[in-house]
Symmetry: C2
Subunit: 198 residues, 2 copies
């Protein structure tokens, strides 16, 4: 069984997409960045040793807001006040769009990037957790893509290598916050289990 | 394997404790209720079919704030605007203290309540996820207790039947937001796995 220190998930990355996503009425929109998403998801990523957490928005003002937030905790007063926030945010970056992220990871790794989208619906190329877990242990980098608002625009889903099966609730309730979905999915795919239970 | 509709976790409850908890300096304090915790944790509880989500604070103003929030989404304009929030909040209640919650569940179920505390540290009565999962399938009700701030006051931990093993991160990072920890723990203990993968 895997033990702390024996694993590295640095070739597994997360993208949180604010455009293109749907709103409540099914229109394609740019959703607003939520500062709490940045903190929560950065902590979950750090907990499971994720490589980079990409916050994706094309809006310059929102990009600046995320960079200001990160700067405050990395080098501002926040770094001293709460060092665990600093540690969590070390690998959080903001990008214009998903294509830039895919290009960057591919160029840096010089390997084909596996793109896995997530969401509340099943799709023809759906993959289960156990099958994806095995794929993630291979050498190629992987990018897990999460939508905000009412979900990722359909072309993003169609162009992905895999669509991860949705998290099934009891009695069909299917409305987890993206913060919770990311935490659960990282734990299912990368969590250490029972390593110190006995 | 369990399928949707075949399971009920209505005898498993969650408590989010705002007093007594520690602050950064190790003093016992009342932490503030975060409205986003209420929404996120209610959604996670609803997803996994948890019985009741108890928000625990002795402060009257904070109790009223939680009740106003729940009222807005259950019967106010929010109920129409976003029915999934309504559904998530149907079993969220606010209570003065943990003893009141323990007393209420015990009286209603007429059975001994199993109290399981969670946190970032191991303890002598620590229990692993697989062992607790089996216990939760028994008839007696269970209460999973989560702290806010810098964690539950030590007497709460000492008096519990079990202390759940902490979620282990890679390289020892151990600072998940309570919202994420609750989502992960519910998924580990109550999640349906791969039920529609094949």
């Amino acid at each position: 069984m895997k033990k702390i220190g024996e694993v590295s998930n640095s070739n597994i990355h997360i993208a949180l997409v604010h455009f293109p996503v749907y709103n409540k009425s099914g229109e394609v929109i740019v959703s607003s960045v939520t500062t709490l998403d940045i903190h929560d998801i950065s902590r979950s990523c750090r907990t499971y040793g994720v490589g980079t957490f990409y916050v994706i928005t094309p809006l310059k003002t929102q990009q600046e807001m995320v960079e200001r937030l990160i700067g405050h905790w990395l080098t501002g007063y926040g770094a001293e006040y709460n060092p665990t926030r600093k540690e969590a945010l070390l690998k959080t970056v903001v990008k214009n769009n998903l294509n830039d992220v895919i290009k960057e990871i591919t160029e840096e790794s010089k390997k084909k990037l596996r793109v896995i989208v997530t969401g509340a619906k099943k799709a023809p190329q759906s993959i289960g957790y156990e099958a994806l877990k095995k794929e993630l242990q291979q050498e190629e980098p992987s990018l897990l893509v999460f939508g905000t608002g009412w979900g990722l625009e359909k072309n993003l889903i169609q162009n992905a290598d895999h669509v991860l099966l949705p998290i099934e609730g009891i009695n069909g309730f299917n409305h987890l916050p993206v913060r919770a979905a990311i935490a659960i999915i990282l734990d299912r795919l990368l969590g250490l289990r029972e390593s110190s239970a006995d």
